[in-house]
Symmetry: C2
DNA sequence: CCACATCTGTAGTGAACACTACATATTTGG
DNA sequence: CCAAATATGTAGTGTTCACTACAGATGTGG
């Protein structure tokens, strides 16, 4: 098997840069010129490595969810449903206002509505958000089984609620909300989960 | 004063059609060709009437917020902070899944992230969302003064919370969540406001 | 050192975009 | 009926977009 000339850039480092461009400008707003410049490569290298613009987005999303996957494990490891919600939402308040990243969440900023030819981008993002929601739901199912949540609680609805608040906070962060403002939202939001807890 | 040839289309009806295109595809995803076709006019008529694409968006946003303004009045007319939140969020669950409109909310679908040259579109949308939030905050300030909310409650934080949930629900609606799912989210969300109520 | 495979940089490609020049049509004021 | 003013439809304009042809560079296997 012949090997040919080796690639001169690091694919993961390049992906990190692409991720940031999509994060800041959205899928449609990000241009190949911006992406290649941020990645430090030329268009042919991008297309040889990732197929096309949408392939690059998917690779960036994979990397994003992989990085966040470890954190989500910490979140669902909290002792109670209430603590899961608090750890999740407070963590999001911090992450979405971390100056090391663009504000908000890539799974929202990436593209909520797209034009003709990119219709599946919003679906792709929604599918990744749904993964987080499923993880939360499973955790809340367990919490209900453990008697941590009321017997009348709906774990799926609770997970969807926490997911909705997360998304809403992401949009606010991207439009300038600061960390303190998001933490206040998280603080109020947790009280709804608390109201579903079996023990006061 | 010379009058010239009168316009052959109704500006408000044309705006309604443009609004729907922006709502479905976002600002960047909507093309002038799609807009003119939906509006039933040709590009020169569009530019003569609205200036440019961004001017058309602003006009559509004005119309959208005007239409929703009446409904917001009903929302804040509810008797208690809790009822305000419930009326708001349940109404949003219904509106965002109304088959007469595209799913979700124009103030979110319009554009959360945009590319170079459209940077102020997200700001424009955020400003309109902030108007609703201010309206809610004023209502919650009153609720606190009336003793309806606890003396420890933060009306601004509560308003920001309800606004965040609304936005999150909008994103969910646009990615396929049905009315029942959104109502469940609203139901949970209201409990946080209930927890801030003075009387159980 | 050679044949081949893969990568890289330059320099484009056609298509789609927002926007407009211009000729024509339809109104009002005199 | 004429002149000025505004609207309309046709048919473009230049620009930017995602994407690629191609030639040269750099590696591996024999």
């Amino acid at each position: 098997m012949r090997m040919g000339r080796p690639r001169e850039f690091d694919a993961e480092m390049a992906l990190d840069q692409a991720m940031e461009v999509f994060w800041r400008h959205g899928y449609e707003g990000a241009t190949i010129a911006q992406l290649t410049e941020a990645m430090g490569i030329n268009p042919p290298s991008l297309y040889a490595c990732f197929g096309n613009k949408e392939g690059l987005l998917k690779a960036a999303l994979d990397r994003y969810t992989k990085l966040r996957g470890a954190w989500m494990e910490e979140v669902v490891a909290a002792a109670t449903a209430r603590d899961v919600a608090e750890r999740m939402l407070m963590g999001i308040a911090d992450k979405q206002t971390d100056p090391a990243n663009p504000p908000g969440c890539l799974l929202v900023q990436g593209g909520i509505a797209c034009g003709t030819g990119s219709e599946n981008v919003p679906f792709e993002l929604a599918a990744r958000r749904a993964q987080n929601e499923d993880q939360l739901r499973d955790r809340f199912v367990r919490a209900k089984a453990e008697g941590d949540l009321k017997s009348t609680s709906d774990p799926a609805a609770l997970a969807r609620y926490v997911s909705a608040v997360s998304v809403g906070m992401g949009v606010m962060a991207s439009s300038g909300a600061d960390r303190e403002a998001l933490r206040q939202v998280a603080d109020v939001a947790v009280q709804a989960v608390e109201a579903q807890s079996a023990r006061k």
